[in-house]
């Protein structure tokens, strides 16, 4: 099964206005940079984006916000992006803020055929509004539903032509679950190798979840908070 496509242009064929996209990454770590740049070029609009964060003003999803391409964001934390907060407070941007653990599990459930599950996170808060509550082990839990997307765009360190993926460090984060939950999953990788080169014991995401894989042309890998200690 050869899932390899030539480049980012081929990889993103079929993404249209109004679609729901999942984008991997935590902050700027593990984001599919090349795909985001291509989405800006394509100027697709009215997108619903499911991503833990919204990038910073001039990088990551912040670029799509600058171009007013996003109609709705589903995220857990958007604090690093002033333009995002502005668009949200002014009503230009619809935002669903959901607990990070629930976001992760909703994506996993979406890919795993679990339509809904109960979690204690958010009980007693705004997040619980309108949701069914049930008691388990004497503790209240709220019902959360699975999330899926028309396209899931993930970033991995290495991948093979079967779509098997290996992640590096904390760049893994949401990528594996989003890879499962996309109707079509696009993986951009730093290194693309032929099938057989990756040890089956050390693959993080099986290629069955991935429909298209390409080697990203370049990765800036911007650091949001360069924090060091002195010798």
């Amino acid at each position: 099964m050869n899932k390899q496509v030539k480049n980012v242009e081929e990889a993103l064929v079929g993404i249209e206005d109004g679609m729901t996209l999942m984008l991997g990454g935590f902050g700027l770590c593990g984001i599919p940079e090349n795909s985001i740049a291509q989405l800006v070029k394509l100027n697709v609009k009215n997108l619903t984006c499911i991503s833990n964060n919204a990038g910073v003003d001039d990088f990551g999803l912040g670029l799509l916000l600058q171009g007013k391409q996003i109609k709705k964001m589903i995220s857990s934390y958007v604090g690093e992006n002033a333009e995002f907060e502005r668009q949200m407070l002014s009503g230009e941007l619809e935002v669903d803020l959901i607990p990070q653990g629930s976001l992760a599990e909703r994506c996993r459930a979406g890919g795993a055929g679990i339509p809904a599950f109960f979690t204690p996170a958010g009980y007693g808060t705004e997040v619980a509004e309108g949701k069914e509550v049930r008691i388990f082990n004497g503790k209240p839990h709220i019902l959360e539903s699975a999330l899926t997307a028309d396209f899931a765009i993930v970033k991995a360190w290495k991948g093979d032509t079967e779509g098997n993926l290996v992640f590096k460090g904390t760049a893994r984060n949401f990528n594996p679950m989003m890879a499962m939950a996309g109707k079509i999953t696009i993986a951009e990788v730093e290194e693309l190798v032929p099938a057989g080169e990756l040890d089956p014991n050390f693959i993080h995401t099986p290629g069955i979840f991935v429909q298209r894989i390409f080697k990203g042309e370049k990765f800036e890998k911007r650091i949001e908070q360069r924090t060091v200690r002195t010798k």
């Binding site: 984060n173 650091i223 060091v228």
Partner: protein
């Protein structure tokens, strides 16, 4: 003298026990990692997918693929492991982490906490906070006793949107260590040189004060 951020972190670090897995929230809680008491071993979990979070790297050794929940560059200790976000929150929700330390804007006397939204002004999002407070057995809040306008943040009832209900058991501020029991705050310790009167005056919630309140020991 009221404590500074480092003082609050140092006092919270005294609560660490050998063999614990600990999650530290952004802000003051991250400083706790710098003051682990002698002779004990703890492992720090970061919600974005690392167990075995180490100190900040030396200059020139920063790795863009190795960050903490506050998006700062970090290192990994020997024996560290990386995993995805669903696994990370399985550790948190499944109560495999012994201690959670996080900040707050308001805490109420029945243990409610608000730390993610000021309506109309600041809506950064809750991140992992709701999962952490809903699941953790052991939560310590690091916060300032009152805000910049001098209004108490230790309240009868939270006015801001809640992060969690009835979940906070211990609070450390620049003035005091408080415990929450039976719907009231209990004054456990005072910061060195800080009077009980000052603490009472800055606490809007119901505060139980024993006859003798020891000072924090550093």
């Amino acid at each position: 003298m009221a404590l500074d951020k480092v003082g609050i972190a140092k006092r919270i670090a005294q609560e660490l026990r050998d063999g614990w897995y600990v999650n530290l929230g952004i802000g003051i809680p991250t400083l706790v990692a710098n003051y682990i008491p002698e002779g004990i071993e703890v492992e720090f979990q970061s919600e974005n997918g690392i167990l075995g979070m180490g100190p900040f790297p030396f200059e020139g050794e920063e790795d863009a693929d190795l960050i903490n929940a506050g998006k700062q560059t970090i290192t990994a200790t020997k024996g560290a492991v990386f995993f995805d976000s669903a696994t990370s929150f399985a550790m948190i929700r499944g109560q495999h982490v012994q201690l959670t330390v996080l900040g707050a804007m308001e805490v109420s006397q029945n243990g409610d906490i608000a730390n993610w939204k000021i309506p109309g002004k600041m809506v950064k999002g809750m991140g992992g906070a709701m999962d952490l407070v809903a699941s953790a057995e052991n939560i310590i809040v690091a916060m300032m006793h009152s805000n910049k306008e001098g209004e108490s943040k230790i309240l009868k009832k939270c006015s801001l949107p809640l992060t969690g209900v009835g979940c906070v058991k211990k609070v450390v501020t620049e003035l005091a260590v408080l415990e929450i029991k039976d719907g009231k705050f209990h004054l456990i310790e005072r910061a060195p040189g800080v009077s009980v009167e000052e603490i009472k005056s800055k606490t809007e919630g119901d505060l139980v004060v024993p006859d003798f309140v020891p000072e924090m020991v550093f």
